[in-house]
Subunit: 337 residues, 2 copies
């Protein structure tokens, strides 16, 4: 059995280019005891992947040149050597940007297609949904009547943040780029206000949308949008930091109108809590509550989600560029086969 | 009865100048029921006062031009209208930069000179000690074997931070300016390592002093020292922020080699907690524990302190300049009379 793989050919400088990747088809190894052969159905594309393509120290080791690009997948089992997995089973795996793989059966989790569409295991019921849930509830801790702001609000993390904030009785202000997305925020995801960060009046719009200031800013974008929100934080405000997408393609230190000393002055004078996190941290403590809460919320439509499905692994690089530029709407998935 | 007062004559730009203040002697009002007449014995000088001299929004309203400069004092009661306070009592008050005052008897707290020298109510057993205690234990939460770093470590907050960290089993690294202070850190306050931030090799010294990185950085100085420590934070590191003294005299945005985007990248990739606080926040929850712990620690010499006592209210402005420039050693007090 063969697999077609997209590998890192060189480290991208700025926006990833086609030549930063190479596609190859290789023979898979023979199945050993305890292993399964899978074919990828969906590949998740997520902003964190950009960090792994760079050499800089991050929370995980960088990819090496020649590595298959990493990524979580929903796969179908084709062959199994263990009784717990049978051909036809759908599983959550971590096989990366490739069509097939041989993996340890213990490293996959079986999905129940009757409980929820299996693609949601990569989105609202998966890592992005969990990031929103754990980061908002554990760090953001929105109280009834407080104002929660999130950017990239049409994305899988942001849309879940807004909806969970609403369920907790908070006011949800979502920021996104363009009229299609902002409409989605209020009409589909129930945000109280949607702001277009491309608008020339964005700063004024933000002020008008947060007359009582901001209690929780769920930071996943950075850049001028993040800085504008930080300036509006209330005393004892909380800032869960789970991503800084605007900086991921930066080739030099990004501009900052706010500046570090002024930021620290905000932290001090407003008693802010700024807390970076990677969702793994909360897996041991929050996974059970996440499944107990989110599964029925998604099943009964209390929490809604959008998916942006791109056909074909050959379009992964272009789709990934679009993700970093904010061109997708909802959870970006590659339909591999 | 008259009082000699130092009032704010104009808002300082940069380092406070003599002409920013004016000294006047005025007649005090007649004592009303419920009031007491006091004379100041000690006036506490603290960096936060610089912020109140500026117009910018802070955690408290700025002083108005013509206001007596604010400050906590230890006073002797000269006359009383209430049975709970008698002439000769020593009380903790908030009478500011002046020799005498008429105050509401309920706004002062009686001090017991037999329990501890009354001046400590302005230092190790007062606001600076409480800032160290609550900020370190509630936000910093040092665990046994972790590394705690604090700057301005010969000051009343920093020296308490280091000593409490040691009592909790952590390794304490103190930063101060000059050989006299660094010697004090190890010989008097028990820091494991003392670093001189004026040394040309400070960054290398810091790296050598923190071979396992930094788990808690108690931030009270900002500037290049703070940035150097932040770069050494470990995953899940905590940064209580209680002051940014290096910036207090700044007339324009201070330089930052680190920069805000790089700082946020540290926060994200190392899952840092950065938390600004004003000690008032913890008064309702931590005062009892503070008194229960610190009073005996100070009484039996477990926790040591230094005081830098300047004679005469007329030297307050000069002493305050020295405080912002780091010229004092230990808690800076004005012996008013």
């Amino acid at each position: 059995m063969q697999t077609t793989q997209i590998r890192l050919a060189r480290r991208p400088v700025g926006e990833p280019q086609d030549d930063d990747f190479e596609t190859t088809t290789v023979e898979l190894p023979e199945l050993q005891d305890g292993q399964i052969l899978v074919r990828a159905v969906y590949l998740s594309l997520d902003p964190y992947m950009r960090g792994r393509m760079s050499e800089a120290r991050s929370y995980a080791a960088p990819l090496e040149i020649g590595d298959v690009v990493l990524g979580q997948t929903v796969c179908e089992v084709l062959e199994s050597t263990v009784p717990q997995r049978a051909p036809g089973d759908l599983v959550l795996a971590y096989t990366g940007w490739q069509t097939h793989a041989v993996v340890d059966a213990r490293q996959v989790r079986r999905l129940d297609p009757d409980a929820a569409p299996v693609s949601t295991a990569l989105g609202v019921l998966g890592m992005p949904g969990f990031t929103a849930y754990a980061g908002l509830l554990e760090i953001g801790r929105p109280a009834e009547g407080e104002t929660v702001v999130v950017a990239a609000a049409a994305g899988p993390v942001g849309s879940a943040v807004g909806q969970i904030a609403k369920l907790k009785g908070a006011r949800a202000v979502g920021i996104a780029g363009g009229a299609d997305k902002t409409r989605l925020l209020t009409e589909e995801f129930g945000f109280d206000v949607a702001l277009d960060h491309r608008s020339a009046t964005f700063t004024d719009d933000l002020r008008a949308a947060t007359p009582d200031g901001v209690d929780v800013y769920f930071e996943n974008v950075a850049g001028p949008v993040g800085e504008a929100v930080l300036r509006r934080m209330n005393t004892y405000g909380r800032v869960p930091v789970c991503g800084l997408v605007a900086n991921y393609n930066a080739t030099s230190a990004p501009d900052s109108a706010l500046g570090f000393p002024s930021f620290m002055n905000l932290v001090l004078t407003r008693s802010l809590t700024v807390r970076g996190f990677i969702q793994d941290e909360f897996a041991p403590t929050h996974t059970e509550a996440f499944r107990r809460d989110m599964t029925p919320w998604v099943a009964d439509g209390t929490i809604r989600y959008r998916e942006d499905v791109v056909e074909g692994l050959e379009n992964a690089v272009d789709a990934f560029r679009g993700l970093l530029a904010g061109r997708n709407v909802g959870k970006l998935l590659i339909k591999v086969s």
